[in-house]
């Protein structure tokens, strides 16, 4: 005969109400874990989306995401010649304030009609809206392009084309203006955002170098005077390489490190750098919230179980009177704590999983996170019930006597 269950059934309404409250609290704590997962996934999505086995960057730098990195574009050829490297590609990265510059139709400023016509369309951004984009310049047919095309096509050899993340909210075929140059959105990439959460835009390497020059003319001119070239100097931020499955990326990286002025990071090292620089802060913030919420949950569970046990003082004394051993009494208290935790956790987790796609922030929760969190709740309930257990063990059988 399970006394814990029978007692709960006797006070079912109160128990469920308690579970509802605790469930909401645990749901919020679990949401924090999920938001952290989302931050990690977004932070790594760009590096992962580019599917680089190796990153070649400026010597002494942990670029191009965590630190600045500028290297000559011709490094790509040298990297490509290394044994084990299949293709290699030059990349630039810059965060740009862009403007949604109208629908399909070319470079003329959008007419009032067009503005009205396009306002409610697929794209959520109104014409003229300012967008923050992470612009990636890459060499078409080489590594570094968008990880996939959801809609439309990739950029061809033609200039001034752009593949954009759909989350930017600009419709396909529309124009995006950066530094007074307009680019046509020819395709949507599969979902990829920068480490800062900005939508990604891919343009050709040449367009991007042009853009770099226009956005920062003095620096580019100085470089030009030094180099003496007529065109913007061929500078990139990183060269990425794919490594053949038969070669060891770490060995290739070691080879590159022997060249002067260059650093090389394997994919794993790059993710580590990103995790440290971007994710650690989020981990600290969200970790703090989660810890506080779990502590609050623990205190609440402890108080609930303590109160539940105190309310049963007479029954516990009676059990002792009729000779129930301590094990029976400890089981009564602990099983109720476990049940409270289990029902609340299941309720909170179910609620969160049901609403997480409508969350303002990306929530990424795998079965491991949910199970780990469940285990934590279990331990919390176990520890929190000790207060109630201590009380129950101290009840004297004589307390059952008298009216």
């Amino acid at each position: 005969m399970n006394l814990a269950l029978r007692d709960i059934r006797h006070n079912l309404g109160r128990f469920l109400l308690t579970c509802l409250g605790l469930g909401l609290l645990l749901g919020v704590a679990l949401a924090m874990v999920g938001i952290y997962g989302g931050v990690v996934e977004e932070a790594l999505s760009l590096a992962r989306g580019l599917r680089a086995d190796l990153w070649v960057v400026e010597g002494g730098s942990r670029g191009p995401f965590a630190e600045a990195s500028r290297i000559p574009g011709d490094v790509r050829e040298a990297v490509a010649r290394l044994p084990g490297v299949t293709p290699a590609g030059s990349l630039t990265f810059q965060t740009v304030e862009a403007r949604h510059a109208g629908g399909p139709g070319g470079n003329e400023p959008p007419s009032e009609e067009l503005v009205r016509e396009r306002a409610g369309e697929a794209g959520r951004q109104r014409i003229g809206a300012v967008l923050r984009l992470q612009v990636v310049g890459y060499e078409p047919d080489r590594p570094g392009g968008p990880p996939g095309i959801l809609q439309g096509r990739g950029i061809g050899r033609g200039r001034l084309e752009m593949v954009l993340d759909r989350s930017a909210g600009v419709p396909l075929g529309a124009m995006v203006e950066m530094a007074n140059i307009r680019y046509r959105v020819v395709g949507f990439s599969t979902r990829t955002v920068s480490t800062g959460g900005d939508p990604l835009a891919w343009i050709t390497l040449r367009d991007s170098q042009d853009l770099q020059f226009r956005l920062n003319p003095p620096a580019a001119r100085r470089a030009q005077q030094g180099g003496g070239g007529a065109l913007p100097q061929d500078t990139v931020n990183a060269v990425i390489a794919r490594i053949s499955p038969h070669a060891d990326p770490a060995a290739v990286a070691a080879e590159i490190r022997r060249w002067k002025h260059f650093a090389a990071l394997t994919a794993a090292e790059q993710e580590q750098v990103l995790t440290r620089s971007v994710v650690d802060r989020a981990r600290k913030q969200l970790g703090l919230f989660t810890t506080v919420l779990l502590l609050v949950s623990a205190v609440i569970v402890a108080l609930i179980i303590y109160t539940l046990t105190m309310d049963k003082m007479r029954e516990i004394a009676t059990l002792k009177l009729i000779g129930a051993p301590d094990a029976t009494i400890v089981a009564l208290v602990m099983q109720q704590a476990m049940l409270l935790g289990a029902v609340s956790f299941a309720g909170g987790a179910a609620l969160l999983l049901a609403v997480k796609d409508n969350f303002p922030r990306r929530v990424v929760l795998g079965p491991e996170e949910v199970a780990g969190f469940g285990l934590l709740v279990f331990v919390i309930c176990l520890v929190a019930s000790l207060l109630g257990v201590r009380y129950a063990l101290r009840v004297e059988p004589a307390q059952a006597l008298g009216g």
């Binding site: 005969m1 006797h10 059990l319 002792k320 009177l321 009729i322 000779g323 004589a398 059952a400 009216g403």
Partner: protein, 231 residues
């Protein structure tokens, strides 16, 4: 045959200093197997205290307490697991019935048996039989809150008898019953005393049942005032 319950020079007080109440002094009393002994006296004379001492719920201050030929208290508890003693050897009917509010009548009785490792199904069968015998079989599925005082008292009696204990202690078991049912309860206690060779000690105010005791012990101000044999 040596008595199942044996008290020698037992004393018990409550509180300290000015507030000290000497509830019992120099109590020497024994109850043999098969014997039904009544305990009477004015309110506050120490009847419940005496019963609780025998049940090992309260600790004596002085004297010797022996149950079933074993010393239980002499200067200190002589047995480690008093609860095991209670659940195996003692059936206790409380002055206030003390049923568990979250179990129905049957399971309140069956619980006492499952604590002694009787399988639940068997415990429930026996619980129902006991409730039938006490004429509350119809209320076997009711929760304690839905029972009248007399019904609850009879469920508590069934629980006390469930493990066929050798020592049965009852604090005013018939207080909430009409005289006909009070007689049924007394008949049952007498039968249990005979059939199980149990020692039965009953606190009572109820003069209608005085004649059903083998002996009646009177308490006054914590001392045994006298003893009589109604038969």
């Amino acid at each position: 045959m040596s008595p199942l319950v044996e008290l020698q020079g037992i004393a018990k007080g409550f509180g300290e200093g000015e507030a000290r109440v000497q509830a019992l002094s120099d109590i020497t009393l024994s109850v043999a197997a098969g014997e039904v002994v009544g305990l009477r006296g004015p309110s506050g004379s120490g009847k419940s205290t005496l019963l609780n001492l025998v049940a090992c719920i309260l600790e004596p201050d002085e004297g010797v307490l022996r149950l079933a030929d074993e010393t239980v208290w002499q200067g200190r508890w002589a047995k480690a697991d008093l609860r095991a003693l209670r659940r195996r050897a003692i059936g206790f009917i409380f002055q206030f019935h003390n049923l568990l509010p979250f179990l129905d009548a049957t399971d309140n009785v069956a619980l006492a048996m499952t604590l002694n490792d009787v399988p639940l199904a068997k415990a429930r069968d026996r619980a129902r039989a006991l409730l039938d015998y006490l004429q509350i079989g119809k209320r076997a599925g009711a929760m304690p809150a839905k029972l009248s005082g007399g019904e609850a008292q009879r469920v508590a009696i069934a629980r006390a008898l469930a493990n066929q204990p050798h020592i049965i202690l009852a604090d005013e078991p018939t207080a909430a019953l009409d005289s006909e049912r009070a007689q049924v309860v007394m008949d049952l206690l007498r039968r249990v005393a005979r059939e199980q060779a149990a020692a039965v000690l009953v606190v009572t105010h109820d003069d209608k049942i005085f004649s059903r005791f083998d002996r009646l012990v009177s308490l006054r101000d914590g001392r045994i005032e006298g003893e009589m044999r109604p038969g």
